[in-house]
Symmetry: C2
Subunit: 323 residues, 2 copies
């Protein structure tokens, strides 16, 4: 993990230990393996960008700090629970360089541990004292799972770009949106402001995922922790590929990809190289940049504060990061 | 399924179609397979005893009917979601005579469908407008999952009876308790009344599970849908066995069972027959009866109403049923 030396992290540094503590707390006595599993999962770190978003958005709008910390913990735990089931389904053996739960436990124990973390996340969400947040929390989980089911069934429409946006909304932007909007829902602001902040979270989330998908093609595989173009090799079409398909539609490999047919390794390597050296990467980056510009415009309409400046830094970090 | 001709069902008959409708409703557009899965699971029926408990307890205490229907749907969906993951982990092929989801879908799709139903249940719970219910809802899910993990890991203490009570609380009584208490939490009653009703739900739930465990030994296998003593054959010690172990502690099969060793088929058949013809069945039934007496005593302290009479009928049904 790249250390977050960006200034946006400074403002939340004091709250983050309490976020970690609440993620590990629970309201009863449970099997020791469940606590061990939660500790293992949380010890593997992660950027904690979602809790940071909650704390900064809510802080900017004057929300109660204690409720924000609770919401930040709830959202990071929800994220953690979805990863547990995701890694099980994908049979992933490592996440953030640490063995996944499913690589060490039976599928049954992994399913149940994910369920348990969902319940802990829901319990924390209820502790924010906001029914709107509870409803949005449940809707977000439905969106995330719906995206995973759609991907698992390989369901595609005629519109690859639309499919891509639907998928990354479910996978990433929906939870960024909830993190930002949740901060507003705990503040005493108009519905219009909450809607703007939700849109801010959406823009940051989509840009974050687009950059992830760009780094899958051009990032340092050692840093990213995956081979180059691992998504495409698994049949997943991300934004750089969408752009490339548009500009080279007559290429037989492209045709077969669109028909969802399997390419052999040589053909795939050639296609990956073609995408990497095409203008598709640049166009995808520009799309992320324009979302960040939109996010900055929304911020400009918010009351000036150290949190607003930090969110602006966070927005820039999202597109500038290299892992 | 035995038709519920008991009078307690009459009072909720008009509300039940709306409970079914809300269980099938959702706040967005999702993959058609998810709707199909929910329909399939709900079409297999079930006694709907948990929603009945919500409607009658809340009705007796004057709760808003609309919120009760929402809570009833939330609780039955939570129950359904836990069964989806349960059947996957147990590799069960049938439930209520209908193929399980996991027998038709991949493990991944089954995990995600269970998650989706959890999210729908949580969304409905939030729609009750009660944060206390949301918190209790999340705690109940934690209890249920904790019980399953403990069972999966085969974790036992020195106290088989205590282990049994812990397990059936997690498996059954916790959700009955929530169903009853939830009805009270949506009513304008004192905390002491809510606590009494919670205890009523607990007593009914424990009695319900004890009767299930008795029927596993003495019920008609064709009606129960499982071979005689299927729990014991899977290494699960239920109340009849706990009583039998106490009265025949020197029996070598009993000794081996306590040490969690596997018995061969002949030895197991002999032990099952010994338990069936012992006084253990009667003692387990008496324990369920005494819980029902306790439940009736709690009811006697509640304001007289048709719902109270119906709950009294429901309590009697719990111990008299044959499936």
């Amino acid at each position: 993990m790249e250390p977050l030396t960006a200034t946006f992290f400074d403002l939340v540094r004091n709250d983050m230990p309490e976020v970690e503590t609440r993620m590990r707390s629970h309201p009863g006595s449970y099997h020791p393996s469940l606590d061990m599993a939660v500790d293992h999962l949380l010890a593997s770190g992660g950027k904690r960008i979602r809790p940071t978003l909650v704390l900064l958005c809510g802080g900017m709008l004057g929300a109660d700090q204690n409720r924000l910390v609770t919401l930040a913990s709830a959202i990071e735990l929800l994220h953690t629970a979805t990863l547990v089931h995701d890694d099980l389904i994908d049979e992933a053996s490592l996440r953030r360089g640490i063995p996944t739960l499913n690589s060490q436990w039976t599928p049954g124990a992994t399913v149940l541990t994910g369920d348990y973390i969902f319940a802990r996340a829901a319990h924390l969400a209820a502790r924010t004292g906001s029914l709107s947040i509870m409803e949005r929390f449940a809707e977000t989980l439905m969106s995330i799972v719906n995206g995973e089911i759609t991907q698992l069934f390989g369901t595609r429409s005629d519109d690859l770009r639309r499919d891509y946006y639907d998928r990354i909304y479910a996978k990433t932007a929906s939870l960024f949106e909830l993190a930002a909007e949740g901060g507003a829902l705990l503040s005493d602001v108009d519905a219009a402001v909450a809607e703007d902040i939700k849109q801010f979270g959406y823009a940051i989330g989509v840009a974050f995922q687009i950059v992830d998908d760009v780094l899958d093609f051009v990032g340092d595989p050692a840093k990213v922790g995956k081979p180059v173009a691992s998504d495409l090799r698994q049949g997943l079409i991300t934004l750089p590929t969408v752009y490339y398909l548009e500009q080279d539609a007559d290429n037989p490999s492209v045709q077969r990809l669109i028909r969802n047919e399997r390419l052999d390794d040589g053909e795939m390597d050639q296609l990956v190289e073609a995408i990497r050296s095409s203008g598709a990467i640049k166009r995808a980056r520009e799309e992320a940049d324009s979302l960040i510009t939109e996010a900055e415009t929304i911020l400009a309409g918010m009351p000036p504060s150290p949190e607003r400046d930090a969110l602006s830094d966070l927005a820039k970090y999202v597109v500038q990061r290299t892992i």
